[in-house]
Every structure is written in C-alpha cells, then in structure tokens.
Amino acid sequence: MAKVRVVVTDERACGRRVEHGVYLVAGEGEPGGVLDLFTLINPPIPYPVALHRSPRLVQADAILERQPMETWWVGTSLRTEEKKNADEWAYEMFGMPVEKRVRIGDCEGVRGASEAVAVLAAAVSYDTRIPRMFRTLTERNIQELPGKAVVYYNKLHTALVNYTENQQVSDLLTAQAAVWRLAHVIPPHTIGQFVPTLSTLLYLMGLRQDASVMLRTITQQEYVL
C-alpha cells in the first residue's frame, strides 16, 4: 500500500483540488521559509504563442538567459517542435516563409524568426476602423471565392473576435498572417478588388511597411491611405 500524505493548504482562486485529479506542484513549502515560493521575472520574457494546456519541457538556463525561444525545448517538447513543419509554422505566424518575412516590410533586415515575431508583436495594434474593413471584405464575398480564401477569412474573423474579447497580441499576429495568406490565395482576377482592402487592414494593424509592400508587390500600386 502506498503512503498517503496530508497536504494542508488554503483554497485557491481556481477552487479546491478535484478528487482523482493529478497536480503539478512547485514551490511547496512554508510561507516565510528560506526559499522563495515563486520568483518573479521582471521584465517578463515574451512567449508569443497561444495558451496551451500541457506543460512544455524546457531548459531553465535558456529561458533565464533570454535566449531565442527555439533553444528552450528539450525531450519530447523538442521533438514536438522539430516535428512541426517549419514552413507550416511560418505560414501560421507570418503568412509567408521565414526567408521572405525577414526581407520585406516591417521585418526587413531582422536576423531570424524570433526577432521577426518580436518586431511584429511590438508593432501590431488595433484600430477601431478594422471591423469596417473586414465588413467590406465580407460584403464583397471574399469568403465565397474558390480555393482556400474561406479558410483564411475564417481565421481572420476568429482572430479579430478573439482580440476584441481578450486584447491579446497573439490574436493580432494571427490576423495579420491571415491577411497575408488571403492576399496570396485569392484568384488573380480578384486582386484589384481585394488587395487594397487587405493592405489597409495591415495598415490599421500598425504594419505600415507591410501594407505598402503588399500593395506594391501584389497590385503594383503605391500605398496611399
């Protein structure tokens, strides 16, 4: 028979522990003891991903030294990260391959994917005119176009709704990537109809260089707000 220990604690904000639940416990000790129960990191280390439920295996030193996120993972988490197709990740995050992302627009000249994410995260913002622009796309039926337009239209919609509820930068990053994908998957004969609106969306998200590049390279027009 295994030993059962009695844990005496206060109730937490998330309520009491669930019977037969498994809990990860850290910093368990007496308040006021020798060791800090929880050591703060100020300023926080950016972790620009969507919320995940499972714990990730990491190297503490890589995080504390603020090394690029790619170097944090170990064990199964490293294998999971490696398994992810690099292009798939880049399309999800940037709407384009990393090699292209670091050469153009707001990320031109950055040294890699991590830096590009940091640049975009610092640049993106929300403008109250964004819903109107999105409505314009909807009224012109971009979602009815053949191919993958509807996929990225839905992604854009979800990201914008999530953003208005939670004000998370990660949702704006998802939104800008979806805008780039939309510009690339719509049929060529509809470019003139949609790309100016898509580039305005980028502009309103604070990505002014990107907006200009999109308009210049896809429609061969100069950007004028």
């Binding site: 028979m1 295994a2 030993k3 059962v4 220990r5 009695v6 844990v7 005496v8 604690t9 206060d10 109730e11 937490r12 904000a13 998330c14 009491r16 669930v18 019977e19 037969h20 639940g21 498994v22 809990y23 990860l24 416990v25 850290a26 910093g27 368990e28 308040p31 060791l35 800090d36 129960l37 929880f38 050591t39 703060l40 990191i41 100020n42 300023p43 926080p44 280390i45 950016p46 972790y47 620009p48 991903v49 439920r53 499972s54 714990p55 990730r56 295996l57 990491v58 190297q59 503490a60 030193d61 995080i63 170990v74 913002s125 929300y126 998370q168 930068v169 990660s170 704006l172 604070g206």
Partner: protein, 172 residues
C-alpha cells in the same frame, strides 16, 4: 548535465495576473494536468516550473507612451517601481493594470481605450519543482482500482498520493 524544467501557461479564466502573482508567492504553484502529461527527468528542488500569463506584457498604442501610462497608474498609487528604463518594470505595470481592472473597472476601461492597450503572453516567474500529486478522496487510503493504470508512477515515486485539507476559513 542540464536538468529538465517545465513551462506552463495560466489562463485568464480563473486568474488575473495580480491574482496569480499574489497566490503563487503565498502558496506556490499548483496546476492540474492530464495524467498522460507527466514527464520524466524532473528533479525535486532543482528543476524549475516557469509560469506564463497572457497579460504579462503591456503594449501602448502610438502616440501614447509607456511613460504616460506609468504616470497615469501612479496617480492611482498602483505602481511601486517607477525607475528607468521603464521597460524593466513591465511586470509592475502589468500587475498594476490587472489590479486596477478588478478594483476600479471603470478607470481601467478608460485607460484601456485611452492608451489602446494590448497584451502579450510572457513568462512571469518560476518556482522550484516539488512533484506530481494525485488527490485521493477522504475515504481512500490507497489508489482506487479504477486508477490502477497509474500504479507504476506511484510505485516509482513519480506520483505522490495526497489528501488535501483546507485551512479553516480559507477562501483563496
């Protein structure tokens, strides 16, 4: 040899940023995970458990500045550290906003629109790894039959069986 550590996210559903910080500093980290998520290679007291929160990093929309936001918060006596560079006190600013959103929701809503606030997930701290615990019912003195598949983890000392007793009058 490097020791494996863990990184977990805490959602906003139950915890605002200031609540996480207050609670974890007082009680340490306790986070429910799937039984299938128990990893190997962690060392008690040596491995760290890092915690990320979606509102750890605050961005202010142009033309407003972080300094203006900090000055605004200072009026409400919510920010303790106001040195330069201000970015080094980001957690204090995020904490102040989180507390403001709870204590003065109207003032917070005003700040949110005035400063065009956006948030980014960030790692806010860490605690030394203690272990994995399985909570038994009060009447149970051993792993129940329906959880027999976890017996190897218990026998290997990876999963500890516990009864949880709450301090009288505790309300989180």
């Amino acid at each position: 040899m490097k020791v494996t550590s863990l990184l977990v996210c805490v959602g906003e559903k139950y915890y605002k940023l200031h609540q996480v910080i207050n609670e974890y500093k007082r009680l340490g980290v306790s986070k429910r995970i799937a039984a299938t998520s128990i990893p190997e290679g962690l060392q008690e007291g040596v491995s760290k458990v890092f915690v990320a929160h979606p509102r750890a990093i605050v961005n202010v929309s142009d033309p407003k500045t972080l300094r203006e936001l900090a000055d605004f918060l200072y009026q409400w006596h919510y920010v303790g550290m106001m040195g330069d560079p201000l970015e080094e006190h980001m957690l204090s600013i995020a904490y102040a906003l989180s507390e403001l959103s709870e204590k003065e929701p109207g003032v917070y809503a005003n700040a949110e629109s005035t400063f065009g606030l956006t948030y980014q997930m960030g790692i806010i701290g860490y605690a030394p790894f203690s272990g994995f615990q399985l909570v038994l019912k009060e009447s149970e003195t051993d792993l129940p039959t329906e959880l027999d598949h976890m017996r190897p983890l218990v026998d290997a000392g990876v999963l500890e069986l516990v009864h949880v007793v709450y301090e009288e009058g505790s309300n989180g």
